[in-house]
Amino acid sequence: MLQFILRRLFQGVLVVFGVSATVFVVTRLAGDPVSLMLPLSATEAQRIAFAQQIGLDQPIAAQFMRFLGDIVTLDFGNSLWQRRPAIDVVFERLPNTMLLIAAGLGSAVILSIPLGAIAALRPGGLVDRLTMSIGLLGLAMPQFWIGLIAILIFAVQLKWLPTSGMGTVAHIVLPALTLSLTPLARFTMMVRAAMIDELNKQYVKTARAKGLGLPRILRVHTLRNILVPFLSISGWELISTLSGYTVVVETVFAWPGLGLTAVQAIQRGDLFLMQAIVFVIAILIVIIGIVLDILSKAVDPRIELN
């Protein structure tokens, strides 16, 4: 187990190195960082001074080595926009994103299991068809659109909830709801399909022959068996949410998380902040992968960790 974790951490370091190199190259391909970051009115002297200040006058290899050295100490330079270390901005915004993901993905996980299980009990039945139709709808609607419609209905028309921002519990309802719909649809469909599969297995007949009731069979016997595929799909969904969905949803709802910050950093040409965000998300994804593998092993002892 320990050996496995160490090996995965080593792989993680390689991934993070790869991500760093990509970030480094892409930001330099995107154009001259100096003209990206300085206003158009800057003089030639100011440009040269700035380039020297951030080390752009040195050869590219030396720049990369310095970049690697800096990220080991989590020093991504100062955010031009916020005028303080970029990593501080990331760590300030990250908890907000975590909160939003916990509320959105958490409710998707909690709702999808009973929904999928009930649908699986009678494939083709009323509940099944209803759940699947709503699920398809959830998958078909883009999140920015869901968000806008939700604002229109619940904030503008009904005035039940605030349109945007963060502060009270009411503020999180709409963004979390918007964030949860796509994963909820995907999870429910997956739980349903896996549950139908499990319920047809021989061990379920054994459980019935033992005189166990359906609720207990679902809760104790089949649920554990669908947990492994469920874990892996929810891991993927967590990664997509972290690196994609939150950007859209936080922008729509002006939720001050990492996704919104990324958009703002790009708009302001804040290269250092952008690098810090991409780097932290990459590390989080590596960690999520390791945690998922360990959890799967805990649920299914047949899984070999290597």
Binding site: K201, Q202, Y203, K205, T206, A207, R208, A209, K210, G211, L212, G213, V220, H221, R224, N225, V299, D300, P301, R302
Partner: protein
């Protein structure tokens, strides 16, 4: 009024398929007394397993019990579903054919055995685990304490079948239905499992319904035999009678097609033809197309009638001229 544990009267089970209604059981009647061992033999598709599943309430859509009744100690088992829960799994239990897939792969052996003890006997978790250890050693599993925390994939096939049997006898049932319990196991393990069943029958006074297509294992273990063909019982009798003087031409064919070690120089006989489809079964004798002695008189429906010490569903049974022909 009766001393039977289980009585099945005229049981009919249909499966509604796209092609039509498959009549899997066409009026099956049988009974078993306490402590008795009954074998149900027949080829694939004859309805042996469907009979067992009907008893255990495991017939699922598209299948349904469309007629007849199942009585447990004189009380209907199918009618009172809620009451049935306290009988099924406690007093009647079942061991399935394939021990590889019959256990939940993600639950420890101990949890799967304790579960049924906690449910039916109301034991605490600790008491149930203690009982599970006793059961595992009773079915001949060494180091039972260690096995308790193992998962099915850590056990061999024979061991898993022993676990299934331990689960089956956990609440001291009166009847154990074993549906081809040894088919998926190799021959030496088969013998051990059958020996275990025979032992349990003696020690806890268990009645057993053994479902099999292997006549070889019937002779050693069972008291009585019911032969099934095309969803019906065509002959019942004591093991001795069935093997020594089978009355139904199908039973005779079945016995002659079983290899015997002590008979030399005789070609193994097979029954020509195939069983009728059960989508549209013949109204007369289902065996007629394959019967060496059948004639026009066999067109009428056949029913199980007392014959000798047993019963047989053949209109020609006992006619001397017919015996010659077969």
């Amino acid at each position: 009024m009766n001393s039977f544990l289980l009585q099945i009267n005229n049981l009919e089970v249909n499966f509604d398929t796209r092609a039509g209604t498959v009549q899997a059981l066409r009026g099956v009647s049988l009974s078993i007394a306490p402590g008795e061992t009954l074998a149900i033999v027949g080829e694939s598709g004859s309805g042996k397993s469907v009979t067992a599943q009907a008893i255990m309430g495991l017939i699922d859509v598209p299948g349904r019990i469309s007629g007849g009744d199942i009585l447990w100690e004189g009380q209907p088992l199918t009618a009172a579903k809620v009451g049935a829960r306290h009988i099924l799994g406690k007093e009647v239990t079942m061991v399935f054919q394939n021990p590889m897939t019959s256990l939940n792969p993600l639950m420890t052996v101990g949890a799967q055995i304790s579960e049924v003890i906690e449910l039916h006997l109301g034991f605490s978790r600790q008491a149930a685990r203690k009982r599970a250890v006793e059961l595992l050693s009773l079915v001949g599993i060494s180091g039972p304490e260690r096995r308790l925390n193992q998962y099915p994939h850590e056990l061999s096939g024979g061991m898993r079948q022993r676990v299934m049997i331990a689960m089956g006898i956990a609440c001291e049932p009166k009847l154990l239905i074993a549906d081809e319990p040894t088919t998926a196991l190799d021959v030496t393990i088969q013998a051990q499992i059958l020996e275990l069943l025979a032992e349990l029958r003696e020690t806890i006074g268990l009645a057993i319904i053994l479902i099999t297509h292997d006549l070889g294992i019937v002779a050693g273990l069972c008291d009585r035999v019911a032969v099934m063909y095309a969803g019906q019982i065509v002959e019942t009798g004591s093991v001795y009678d069935i093997f020594e003087s089978p009355s139904h031409p199908y039973t005779q064919g079945l016995i002659r097609s079983t290899p015997q070690l002590d008979v030399k120089d005789e070609r193994l006989v097979s029954i020509s033809g195939t069983p009728p489809g059960l989508l549209d079964p013949p109204s007369g004798c289902a065996f007629l197309p394959r019967c060496p002695a059948g004639d026009g008189g066999c067109d009428k429906p056949q029913s199980l009638k007392a014959f000798g010490a047993g019963a047989v569903a053949c209109c020609k049974a006992g006619i001397d001229a017919w015996k010659e022909a077969v």
